[in-house]
């Protein structure tokens, strides 16, 4: 190791708490990746999780010295050899032991008193680009960004689910956009994006619509579509009773009534409830309640004999093929963005439930017939995941399709990408099934603890690091990474390269 490269020296500690002294001026940062070179081209990668001051000068003396300076008594005084006597101590942990055979979880301490250096791109050569890459950003060491791209295998990542925990303003949407842009480079996975803030497509700004493959790989559903986009309109006949499961609390009587309507009217059950068609076995009071529930959840009601939908999403005449088309698109590996910004949460979740149920069902059938390999993995991106995954919701309304996907989806190549500000409300058994966590900054201690407890690596010492993550900085903790990888997610606007105008000349013939 060259003199210039040395960042510090190990002076003690234990396995998860190795102490090293920073060489003066090197400015080791929280989250920095450092390397100890051992013999035979082996090296240990260390990660900084805490920093503290070290001093050869007793505390009381330092306090006095500070007092002298502050109160103007010590104008001619200073610390001699300041860099020798006052320094920074870094607490680090070993995260990977790299040898010719690749990287392993380290089980030894680095050689005592060994020098450490900052990580170089070359040290990360064991991180190989996977066959189905989803781009996450560049490796970050502290706040320094290395020229080394981080990918996760999309197939593995999606089927084992992803959690994106972060508080507002930390770059969640930017991250999702970057990931989707990367996925759009190849049509290997279908992605259903429930977009409650209409921020992914790029209606009025740069967005996924600008991807060079957008025409072939993307579809955008919205209530008021710009040219080329699809209208978000779903026929009431596409709605099945099971789509409400876990999302709406029906009493037993109401459930029984729904069953009867469905049995009698098949796919016209909703319309008949709205129209108030009386049937045997269902009281008018129950019918009235069902009408109210449908009005609240779907914003659909009867007006002068016509079925009206306040948000124009549900219809009795249009949108028959919408759900099928969405599913076909997903199975072809397209990204389907559903703009739910102008509809209620209930409607948004119901739409997602309808699609997810159908996809799940198709994949289950395929598996039963031994054809699951032919199916593309489908991922569902849902924001504010506690709406469907919180312990409270699950206890109150039972399992819904989203929690089912979270628990069982891996077997059927259906995955969940859950975005949340509150990880602590999601039950542990759901969290443990989500094997990739892309952790963005979070100032809430309870949330950090919940994230840390369920992470794929031991992040017990990373509380401070997570709290100090700036916008765009993330830690990727996954069972598919050797260690919790610190990344810098690029700004979408910088990352997304605009589609070049097509050179192909269009000839118009009437």
């Amino acid at each position: 190791m060259e003199e210039l490269e040395i960042a510090g020296q190990i002076i003690g500690g234990k396995v998860a708490n190795i102490l090293l002294r920073e060489k003066s001026g090197k400015e080791i940062e929280l989250g920095d990746l450092l390397v100890v070179d051992e013999s035979d081209e082996k090296y240990l990668i260390l990660q900084v999780y805490d920093l503290s001051y070290g001093s050869q000068i007793p505390q009381t003396v330092r306090e006095l010295a500070a007092g002298l300076k502050l109160e103007g008594y010590g104008s001619s005084l200073d610390f001699l050899e300041p860099h020798l006597r006052n320094y920074v101590m870094a607490m680090v942990k070993a995260v990977a032991f790299v040898s010719k055979g690749g990287a392993k979880i380290p089980k030894v301490l680095p050689s005592f008193f060994s020098n450490v250096r900052f990580i170089r791109e070359k040290d990360l050569s064991f991180l190989i680009k996977p066959p189905n890459p989803v781009y996450l950003g560049k490796i970050r060491s502290g706040s320094k960004i290395l020229d080394f791209d981080v990918f996760l295998d999309g197939e593995e990542m999606l089927t084992h689910h992803v959690l994106v925990p972060a508080t507002t303003g930390r770059g969640k949407s930017n991250l999702v956009k970057v990931m989707l842009w990367s996925i759009a480079d190849h049509k290997k996975f279908g992605m259903l994006v429930l977009d409650p803030h209409d921020e992914y497509y790029g209606r009025n700004s740069k967005g996924l619509k600008d991807h060079p493959n957008a025409k072939d790989t993307m579809r955008y559903y919205t209530v008021n579509p710009p040219p080329g986009a699809s209208t978000l309109v779903i026929n009431l006949r596409s709605i099945k009773p099971e789509h409400f499961e876990g999302l709406v609390d029906f009493s037993d009587t109401q459930l029984q009534a729904i069953k009867l309507y469905h049995r009698q009217f098949r796919n016209e059950w909703v319309e008949n409830i709205i129209r108030g068609t009386q049937i045997d076995g269902v009281k008018s009071t129950t019918l009235a309640v069902l009408q109210r529930i449908i009005r609240v959840n779907l914003a659909v009601y009867l007006e002068e004999g016509q079925i009206v939908c306040k948000n124009r999403v549900f219809s009795d005449s249009a949108g028959e093929a919408t759900i099928s088309t969405i599913i076909n698109d997903l199975e072809e590996g397209k990204i389907v963005i559903v703009d739910t910004s102008k509809i209620s949460d209930e409607a948004e979740l119901l739409i997602g439930s309808a699609v997810a149920n159908e996809i799940f069902s198709r994949h289950q059938d395929a598996k039963a017939e031994g054809r699951l390999d032919e199916k593309r993995t489908v991922g569902i991106i849902i924001e504010e995941a506690p709406r469907v995954l919180s312990a409270e919701r699950l206890a109150k309304s039972g399992n819904n399709i989203y929690s089912r996907v979270a628990r069982e989806g891996r077997k059927f190549k259906v995955g969940l990408v859950a975005i949340t500000q509150l990880t602590s409300v999601i039950p542990r058994d759901v969290l443990t099934n989500i094997n990739t966590k892309i952790i963005l900054g979070n100032e809430m201690a309870t949330e950090r603890h919940a994230i840390i407890e369920s992470a794929a690596q031991d992040l017990s010492s990373d509380d401070r690091t997570i709290a100090s993550l700036d916008k765009g900085e993330a830690i990727v903790s996954s069972i598919f990474t050797k260690f919790a990888v610190p990344v810098q997610i690029p700004l979408f606007d910088d990352y997304a390269k605009m589609a070049k105008p097509s050179d192909k000349k269009v000839v118009f013939t009437g």
């Binding site: 049509k187 025409k215 579509p225 710009p226 040219p227 080329g228 986009a229 699809s230 209208t231 309109v233 026929n235 006949r237 596409s238 124009r312 005449s317 249009a318 949108g319 028959e320 093929a321 919408t322 099928s324 088309t325 076909n328 072809e332 032919e374 105008p501 269009v506 000839v507 118009f508 013939t509 009437g510």
Partner: protein, 417 residues
């Protein structure tokens, strides 16, 4: 003021004399009704004919009727459909347009990457018509991408947009796989949208759009149409009354024959049982003077599909007085042949499924031959080899033409040299 809106007449679709006759009859009824109603003009939104160069006998009949309409002072405005468009040159539509019998309302040019369409103004009513014709396999979507909508939307007056495409928002569930475009591709604020290509009639409304109407096929363009008609789907066209905006949209049914539909599931039966039961049930049908459509489907528990004597059954029904008998057995398989499960019930769906499944079993290195690309290519090649010889075309010329088209599709132009 009023106009008639017709689509998907598919003249020339049927060679079989009875069907060809009914097809001509249906068209004739429409034209006569238009004269009777004194409509100001007629819009035919694509697939007037079954192909770009259809059967001349059928053309002859149709032209006579159209001539009568023209004589009555009623202009006929048309666009190409996906069938009567000829990618290699002129089609029957162009020929009739050049005679003045019909008027193609698609004219435009690409300026600075934008498609600027020109309005045709009906001289009598002042209605402005503009449209985009269909191309094969939904390729017209490229035109919609570059369409200059703003100029069209800003145009004042009573405007009609004529098109021949399925719309995502309105296509029926069973056509979910069909190529279609979202309605956002169409310019807004037109008073009427005259659609074609969808063989079931429907009327729709959406904010910012006038009535969006599909008349459906007039007679039948495919076996599925016969089945739908037999099951009760109405066939006909629309008469639209308008002034500054649309006042009334009225469907005018056209029925040229009665249909009888019978379906039989062979599942859990062997070929002997199936034959026996089928025969028995068909004997009881009243098919005199009617079109008989029989659908046989399912997986035989024993025996081969060829054990079933469909020719005999057909003969029996004809002898009972059926004007035409069609037996659909695409959904019929025997256990020995069950390695290919055919889910689609129409030819297009079956072909798609078979292509997909077979492509999946072959190791291919060229990405263009795999997956969706490969399936699409297979469809295109099949369409090419299905082309019929043109009238007067020699066998040698026909083979050459088909080969050239195939090579072009496969992007192997150099190989032919």
């Amino acid at each position: 003021m009023k106009f008639a809106h017709v689509a998907d007449t598919h003249i020339g679709a049927h060679r079989e004399p009875v069907l060809a006759q009914l097809e001509a009859e249906a068209f004739g009824i429409v034209m006569d009704r238009c004269i009777q109603e004194k409509v100001d003009f007629i819009i035919i939104s694509g697939d007037l004919f079954q192909s770009g160069i259809p059967d001349l006998a059928a053309v002859d009949d149709a032209v006579k009727k159209m001539h009568a309409v023209r004589e009555a002072g009623i202009p006929i405005y048309v666009i190409y459909g996906s069938h009567d468009y000829n990618p290699n040159g002129k089609s029957i539509i162009d020929i009739l347009d050049s005679t003045g019998l019909i008027k193609k309302v698609v004219k435009g040019e690409i300026v600075d990457g934008k498609l600027e369409l020109e309005f045709f103004t009906d001289s009598k009513t002042g209605a402005k018509l503009v449209g985009i014709s269909a191309r094969k396999a939904g390729l017209e979507s490229r035109y919609y991408e570059i369409l200059d909508r703003e100029t069209l939307e800003e145009e004042p007056g009573f405007k009609i947009f004529v098109f021949h495409s399925g719309l995502d928002e309105f296509k029926p569930k069973h056509l979910a796989q069909m190529e279609s475009i979202p309605i956002s591709c169409l310019p807004r604020e037109f008073q009427y949208y005259a659609g074609g290509h969808i063989h079931e009639k429907s009327e729709h409304t959406l904010p910012h759009y006038g009535p969006i109407v599909f008349p459906g096929t007039l007679f039948a363009g495919s076996p599925r149409d016969f089945e739908a008609s037999a099951k009760g789907t109405q066939r006909g066209f629309y008469i639209v009354q308008f002034n500054k905006k649309v006042e009334k949209v009225e469907f005018v049914p056209v029925k040229v024959c009665e249909c009888v539909y019978h379906e039989y599931d062979v599942t859990n039966k062997n070929s002997v049982q199936a034959q026996h039961e089928l025969q028995k049930s068909l004997k009881e049908l009243d098919v005199k003077g009617k079109f008989a459509l029989v659908k046989v489907f399912g997986e035989l528990a024993g025996g081969k599909t060829s054990d079933l004597k469909f020719a005999e059954l057909k003969k029996m029904l004809s002898e009972k007085g059926a004007i035409h008998v069609d037996i659909n057995r695409f959904g019929l398989v025997s256990k020995e042949y069950a390695n290919m499960k055919v889910a689609g019930e129409d030819i297009g769906g079956i072909e798609d499924r078979l292509f997909k499944e077979n492509i999946g079993t072959v190791k291919l290195s060229n990405a263009d031959l795999k997956g969706e690309q490969g399936t699409k290519l297979a469809h295109e090649l099949l369409k090419i080899v299905r082309q019929e010889a043109k009238t007067g075309e020699t066998k040698k010329d026909y083979n050459m033409r088909v080969s050239e088209d195939a090579v072009k599709t496969l992007k192997l132009t150099g190989a032919m040299k």
